[in-house]
Structures are given as C-alpha cells and as structure tokens.
C-alpha cells in the first residue's frame, strides 16, 4: 500500500522533521543545504532526487547526524535530536550507502549482526535475527552466513547491506543511492524485491537517487531538489509527472515525463474492451455471430482451459477450407492485471490491432485492452492531477 492510498485528511504523522536546517561545510562559501524544512511521514518512501552535487547526500547525512547542521533542528520521533548522542541515534536508524561498506574482515553473519552487537543483544537472539534477515533478502543463511564479503556478487552484497541496515529493526531507513553501482537488470530486480519487502515491513524510508525513473518507481512521494537542497517540488510521483511546478522540474523530468506515468498505472486500471470469446467446439456460424456482435470486429478463440489461443475476424472465418482452430492469428502476447501500462503499450504495439489480451494468474481469458483505453486513462490521470 502506498502512503497516498491513505485518507488525505488523516495524514500519517511525521516521523522525521528537518526544521530550517542549514549546513555550510567548513571552508565553503555557500551552504550545501540552505534553510531546508522537510517532513518524512511514517511508513512512506520519500525519494530525494536532484542533479549531482545538489545536496542530497548532505541532507540524508544530516538526518542521522553523520554531519552536524550549522543551524536548524532535527526532530526524530517527536523529539529534538540535534543535541543528543549521535551514536545512539544512528543505532536506531538503518543506513545504506552506495558503496555498501561491508566489513571485509567479518563474515556476512557478523556484518549483519553489527548493530545488534552494538546494542548488546545476547548471542542467541542475534544469531536468530541474522538468519531471519538473510532469509528476508532471499539468501540461504547456512550458505552465506559464514562467507566473507569478497565472496559475494554485487547484487548479493547490496542485499546484505540492506539486511544489515534492517537487523536491529529500525523504524527508519536512510538509503543513499543503494542500487547505484549495479547493472540495470540486477537493479531492477533489487528494486522490485525491495518494494515487496517494504510492503511487508512498512518502514519509513528516505531514499536518495539522481535517477528520476528510480524515483518514480520507488517513491510514495518525491522531493525534487535543486542546488543547495532547495525543494523545487515535493509531491506524489503522478502529480509531479503530470503537473511539474516549474521549468526546473520539467527539465529534470526530461521529455519522457508522460511516458513515465505509464509505469505508475497497471493494466487492471484500464477498462477492458468487450471482445467476445469463442468457446472451443463452437460452430463456424456461432463464431461468426460473435465477430458480428463485437464492436471491434474480432473475437478470441479459447481452448478448453479458457486460455486465449487465436484472434479471429470475419475474413479469416470466411475461408471455409481451414478449421476454426486454425483460423486467424495466434495470440502471442498476454498481459496480466499487475503489469504496468508500459508493458501494456509495448504489447499492443506488437499486434496489428492495437489490442492486447489480458489473462489472470492462471492464464485464463479476462478481456482485451486497447490503445484507446490506455490513452483515455492517461488523459484522466492528467486531468485528475491538474
């Protein structure tokens, strides 16, 4: 569930608040972060995105006081932590950096047990927690626990980094380009895994990236930052994509902003076009009747398991030499309700009809989606957001 699914009148409370925070590095003339006020709501993924050097990392590191603000205050779980023991604070906040920073001389199990050990958990509890964490990120504890970091692939190391950050069950997770140094395919997989994890864990997450696509994918809300960490716009991704606040945001989104909204919606959000099914064993007359009745002039031939097998239209049925089971074209591409509209669009572009078949999890026919239904949803989203 996304934060924006919640009732807007009952906004979740802010777990972290930056109040008029300013940071000027020693020797620097200009502040790296200027008068920043920002609230992170409980249970959301707030993505900080912006061009290189705009102060994303600095902002993130102010939260767990890796660096001290020059002025302003940081509120964590309702209490001002600007002047408390930073080490104590950091043990309550998970932190993942791009370089991961696993301890090379410690086993994976010891790495994950770092914060529990700092918190003086007993050995048994720590060991159990370490195993739980490894399983959570999909790694077999008996295989990977005793290994050393250099024996892991980049993707595995990244998973261990996340497991280590989660080990002491912090409410808050700070992630600084956690999937930055990974190949695109692995990154995509890690992002999906992480979103699935988050759906379960419901942590409060501040996520830094300079990749707008990653921001749109991961964020419940996105804060677009300009130099000195000045917030250009902070809102739900669909609002930012369809209604950028100014030229800076628009430029940052790039030309593909509308296309990006395609990743926000799913096939299940589309209206299904009534393309009638033709059941197996139907006569040619029955099939023709179905085609006649169809507004799009086509029907879908199903097999005994209700799987769609062929597209048929009038012309293909007129050819009496061919049995019905071989009429028309075979159905090659099928969508599921969970697929994004981006998947849907590319599926539709592969068919000459501009339509694509939608099936349920077991491959049974549900209906068809058309380019028109996709376009009208986009228009709706845009109007709705504006």
């Amino acid at each position: 569930m996304n934060a924006h699914d919640l009732d807007p009148l009952h906004e979740p409370r802010a777990l972290i608040e930056l109040v008029n925070v300013e940071k000027t590095y020693p020797g620097a003339e200009q502040p790296a972060v200027r008068d920043l006020s920002l609230a992170v709501r409980e249970g959301e993924i707030l993505v900080l995105v912006g061009p290189s050097g705009c102060g994303k990392s600095t902002t993130l590191r102010l939260i767990n006081r890796m660096i001290e603000p020059t002025s302003g205050s940081i509120i964590f779980e309702g209490a001002d932590v600007t002047n408390t023991d930073p080490n104590k604070l950091r043990r309550q906040i998970g932190y993942v950096i791009q370089q991961i920073g696993l301890f090379p001389h410690r086993t994976i199990a010891e790495n994950i047990g770092t914060v529990p050990r700092l918190l003086k958990w007993d050995k048994k509890k720590t060991a159990a927690r370490v195993n739980e964490m490894l399983e959570l990120v999909g790694m077999d504890p008996s295989i990977y626990g005793p290994r050393y970091p250099r024996e892991l692939s980049g993707g595995q190391a990244q998973r261990v980094g996340v497991a280590r950050a989660l080990a002491a069950d912090p409410d808050v997770l700070l992630m600084d380009e956690p999937f930055g140094a990974i190949d695109p395919i692995t990154r995509d997989r890690l992002q999906n895994e992480f979103l699935r994890l988050q759906a379960e864990l419901k942590k409060t997450i501040v996520f830094v990236t300079h990749d707008i696509d990653e921001a749109v994918k991961m964020g419940d809300r996105i804060a677009i930052l300009r130099e000195q960490s000045i917030i250009a716009q902070i809102d739900r991704p669909e609002v930012i994509l369809t209604d950028p606040a100014d030229d800076f945001v628009e430029n940052f989104l790039g030309s593909g902003a509308i296309l990006k909204t395609l990743t926000l919606n799913r096939v299940r959000d589309l209206d299904l076009a009534p393309v009638p099914p033709v059941l197996p064993g139907a006569s040619r007359t029955q099939a023709l009747a179905a085609v006649e009745e169809s507004s799009s002039g086509v029907a879908i031939l199903l097999d005994a398991q209700e799987h769609p097998v062929r597209w048929v239209d009038r012309r293909s049925l007129d050819n009496a030499a061919k049995p019905i089971e071989q009429a028309g074209r075979s159905v090659n591409v099928m969508l599921q309700p969970e697929d994004t509209l981006q998947d849907a669009l590319s599926a539709m572009l592969q068919t000459s009809t501009g339509m694509s078949v939608v099936v349920d999890g077991r491959g049974r026919y549900l209906g068809c989606v058309t380019i028109e239904s996709l376009a009208s949803l986009l228009v709706q989203t845009q109007n709705g957001a504006a």
């Binding site: 080490n87 043990r91 950096i97 920073g101 090379p104 914060v115 700092l118 250099r150």
Partner: protein, 244 residues
Amino acid sequence: MNESRASRLDLIVTPAIGLLLAVLLFVVWNYSDMDPTTERILEPANLARQLQQQLILAFWSTLLVIIVAIPLGIMVTRGGARGLKNTMVGFLGLMQAIPAYGLIVLFFVWLGQGATTVILALAAFSLLPVLRNTIVGIEQVDPSVIESGKGMGMTPVQRLARIELPLSVPVIISGIRTATVITVGMGALAFLIGGGGLGETINAGLKLNRPTAIFVGAALVALVALAFDFAGALAQRYLHPKGL
C-alpha cells in the same frame, strides 16, 4: 593480497637461506684451521654472551618501537593532525638519513655508554618504518567501510578497534618486520659504545685480520636477522585478517 602471497614465499625462502647459512657456519666452524687468536675470538662462551646481547638489543628496541610507533601512528591519523603527521614523518625520515654509525655516536654523546643507549638509538632508527606503515595501513582502509561503521553507531574507539586496526594489521606487521631486521643489523654496531653484541667478534676479526672470525660473527648476525624475519613472516601469515 600481494603481501600475503609474498609472506607465503618468505615462509619457505627465509628458512632455506637460514639453513644454508647454518650449514656453511657448521662447516667453517668444524673444518677450518683456527689459529689460537681466532680460537680466542671465537670462544663459545663469548659468542653465546654476544648472541644473547644481540637478541636482547633487538627484542627491546623492537618492542619499544611497537609501543611508541603504533599509538603515535594512530594518534596522527585521527582527524585534524595532518600537519603534525607530515612534520613527524619528515623528521624521522631525516633521522634515517643519518648513517647508523653516526646516530649511535650521537646517542652516546647524549646518553653515555651502555645497552640502554643502544636500544634507544636502534628504536629511534627503526621507528620510521613502523610509524609510516601504521599511518599507511590505517589510511588505506576503504573510507566507505569506516563510514558505514559510523553510520551504524560505532563510536570512534569501536571503529578503530574493530575496523581500522584489524584491516591495517598486514601493513603494520610488514613495517615491524622491516624494523626488526634493521635493529638486528644495526645491533652489530652496539659494541662501539659498549653495548656488546656480535659486533665485538666481527670487529676483533677485522682488527686482527681473521677472516674466519669475521665470517662466524657476520653469519650469526645474519641468522638472527633471518630468525626475526621468519617470525615476522609467520605473524603476517597468521594474523592476516580472514576474508581479505
């Protein structure tokens, strides 16, 4: 990684050279004609005392170096001591540029005769490799590892003890190895200011022109140096952090 492969080689080469030298020493000792002067120089009781002195000198000066240089190295790598660090490394480098002989004499002028003076001089001379390697060892630790430790709430002391030092052990030990070899070798000059050691035998051999005595003295010094180096190689092998 190179370092560990090198130390594995040391574990074979160093004892092999040592063995060869020992055999040679045995042959020379038993089969060369010794005139009474040579025999007097090579009086076993004398040699045993000198050997013991040599070992003691090397041991204490190395220990002193470790006790001083490692904490010093740690101290100057804590933030804000950059200037101090450079000055110190520069100063110690200068000190190493003074010939060993000169340094021992300087210490003699300052502190007078005796083994303590020798130990201090040796320590001063071999401080640099350990200090430098401690600094290099700590500074070569991947900053992101320290950053992540800090981010998880490790205190500065925990970061030092659990991350920085373990990860710099190989480099530090290699500095200590260099230091021990220096102290053993330089210990041969201890006799100059009444510090004893095998230098007495070598010196007597030189003065009285007795090559056999020179060889025996020098070979014993070399054996001690090899023994220390071998101990260092063992330490490097077995104290090397797992996972690296």
